[in-house]
Amino acid sequence: MEQGNGKKLVIGVIGADVHAVGIRILEFAFREAGFDVTNLGVMVSQEEFIGAAIETDADAIIISSLYGHGELDCRGMRDKMNEAGLEGLLLYVGGNIVVGKQDFVDVEKRFHNMGFDRVFPPGTPPETTIECLKKDLGVE
């Protein structure tokens, strides 16, 4: 396990999604990489993500969505964050975020337009996300 880097993450699975395995592994991997992790588990609403981010003074919100309703569930997230005073807070999404096998360039664009800083395709290994986080949060 790496030394703590002081950066705080709020993670969870959005919407009515109950896929519990990936987020548990992400929690473990982020911790091993030195992050301070608040794992909200599955079936997390936008409000819960925002509440937890405010409460923990988080550096990033990491949203996982596996079941295909990611697009409906993520709509308006950035606006709500802005309203709550979390302007510019780092916001990632990943998993199987849309229904079916779609062209990922397209999907990425749609989520970028919705205000997500980074959008990850199915099966992204934790290492990739950790690298991005370190870069975006200026760790090391």
Binding site: G15, A16, D17, V18, H19, A20, V21, R24, I25, F28, G41, V42, M43, Y67, G68, H69, E71, L72, N96, V98, V99, G100, K101, Q102, P122, G123
Partner: protein
């Protein structure tokens, strides 16, 4: 409300709940039970699930069934017709979307509208409640194959009413299997009660001469579930269902990956369920089995996904499961296209037809059967003991205490103290037993199996090993070895 008991509901108890259920969403008012019986009786035998299953069981055949659901009716008919005609499905599904599963019919309605508007499927399944009785019957009428509702709904009462009235003759789920893997905050008391309703409704249809097949959901979280855990749930749900008058049950099991363990598991599942049903006075229930092809994380490459599909098919064929639920080459990516779905079925069919005549009689098979049966008995007997003879109470206490413990489950009512890992041959064993009430001999057996692997891999058994096992199949192997092995 009365204390929860494993006891057949009276008609009064049933009706008093029912009037409330049917008003949960406008489409509820179209349910007319007498008219529904007539509709069911008008169905030809080849459209009735139980007939087809029982016939296959007699003939020793393994039937093939895909998963599939899209938001809109015309597309759903097109999809199922394709799977029937091109994919040669023996049995068809209607997979319900995730909003409906959470009784969020408003959001499902938004999904329908958005799908119509955008021409893209915005829901991950078919919102049967919103489409109502008439919508369901459009599917039943359009297809020539029995169709089943497949979902993951903790409170499925309205969905059941609508789809039964809509002519469906098979229905997946159960109070434990559709709660612990599919919910976070729903109490077991609630789901067991709600599924008593579903089972009682099924019983009422049976009593009216309309057979409806019920299928406890076997694979649970699909992630390193030891056979005895899912078998315990399957037998319990079969017993609970039988008490409410269910007469046709299909018990299920998700492939683990080790051939011997898997074949043993399917065979024991049939015999144990039969045995417990007989023992508790439900000897007239027809039991069939279903093997789910690998339910955990899939490899992304289609060529590798085919391999996993074929291997699952081999298990179904060699164990002579009554049916097999098929994955697709798109599994790791997203809800499959109809073509990908049919491809998975054709791949499955080829193996089933090549292997259906063969069977497996390994030295290890008998041992494994004895072990799985013994483990399952430990858990089942503990449930009866905890409930002082009442299974409904017993299972709640068993899950609370971790005597029955489902790995990787999202539910906060699940203990999550048990940790599974693969042994050196890839069979799923216990790394931490938690509170599972196995005999000391069985616990020793598990310990030795895991130690053997740890020794071979020259590392301590740890959560890292479990994670490696979770990833293994999607990374191209069965046992999650460290990189040097």
């Amino acid at each position: 409300m009365d204390e929860l008991r494993n006891k057949k509901w009276t008609r009064d108890e049933f009706e008093s709940v029912r009037s409330e259920i049917l008003t949960q969403w406008p489409t509820g008012k179209d349910v007319d039970m007498e008219e529904a019986f007539a509709y069911h009786k008008s169905l030809p035998e080849h459209k009735v699930f139980s007939f087809k299953l029982n016939k296959a069981k007699e003939e020793g055949k393994t039937l093939i069934q895909p998963r599939a659901g899209v938001p809109l009716i015309p597309q759903m008919i097109e999809l199922l017709t394709y799977l029937q005609d091109v994919g040669k499905a023996d049995l068809l599904p209607t997979t319900i979307d995730s909003y409906t599963r959470q009784n969020r019919y408003n959001e499902a309605e938004v999904g329908i509208t958005e799908s119509e508007r955008s021409g893209k499927a915005m829901l991950n399944g078919f919102p049967a409640v919103n489409h109502g009785v008439a919508g369901c019957r459009m599917l039943i009428d359009a297809l020539d194959t029995p169709i089943q509702i497949r979902h993951g709904t903790p409170d499925a009462r309205l969905l059941t009413e609508i789809t039964y009235a809509g002519g469906y003759t098979s229905y997946e789920g159960g109070g434990i299997s559709y709660n612990i893997p599919y919910a976070k905050n729903v109490s077991l008391e609630a789901t067991i009660r709600d599924w008593q309703y579903v089972d009682r409704l099924t019983g009422i249809y049976e009593e009216a001469g309309c057979p409806i097949n019920r299928e406890p959901y076997g694979p649970l979280t699909g992630t390193l579930v030891p056979p005895f855990v899912s078998h315990s749930v399957a037998v319990i749900e079969a017993l609970l269902a039988a008490e409410q008058g269910v007469k046709n049950v299909t018990v299920g099991y998700g492939q683990c990956g080790n051939l011997t363990q898997d074949v043993a598991a399917v065979q024991v599942l049939q015999s144990l369920t039969d045995e417990y049903l007989r023992k508790y006075g439900y000897g007239d229930v027809n039991v069939t089995t279903v093997l789910h092809q690998w339910m955990g994380g899939f490899p992304q490459e289609e060529s590798k996904a085919y391999s996993v599909i074929a291997w699952g098919s081999a298990v179904a064929a060699l164990s002579h499961a009554t049916k097999v639920i098929v994955k697709t080459p798109h599994e790791a990516i997203g809800v499959p296209t109809k073509e990908a779905n049919a491809d998975g079925m054709l791949c499955t069919q080829q193996i089933i037809n090549m292997l259906g005549e063969q069977s497996l009689n390994t030295y290890g098979l008998k041992d494994e059967k004895v072990i799985i049966a013994a483990e399952t008995r430990c858990v089942l007997d503990k449930c009866f003991e905890l409930g002082k003879g009442d299974l409904a109470q017993g299972v709640i206490l068993a899950i609370r205490s971790g005597a029955l413990d489902i790995p990787f489950a999202p539910s906060r009512y699940n203990a999550g103290k048990m940790l599974p890992a693969r042994d050196n041959d890839g069979a799923i064993r216990l790394f931490h037993a938690g509170n599972v009430p196995l005999t000391p001999e069985l616990l020793d057996f598990h310990r030795e199996k895991i130690e053997e692997r740890a020794k071979y891999e020259k590392r301590q058994a740890s959560f890292q090993m479990v994670i490696d096992d979770v990833y293994a199949i999607s990374k191209g192997r069965l046992v999650g070895r460290p990189t040097n092995k």
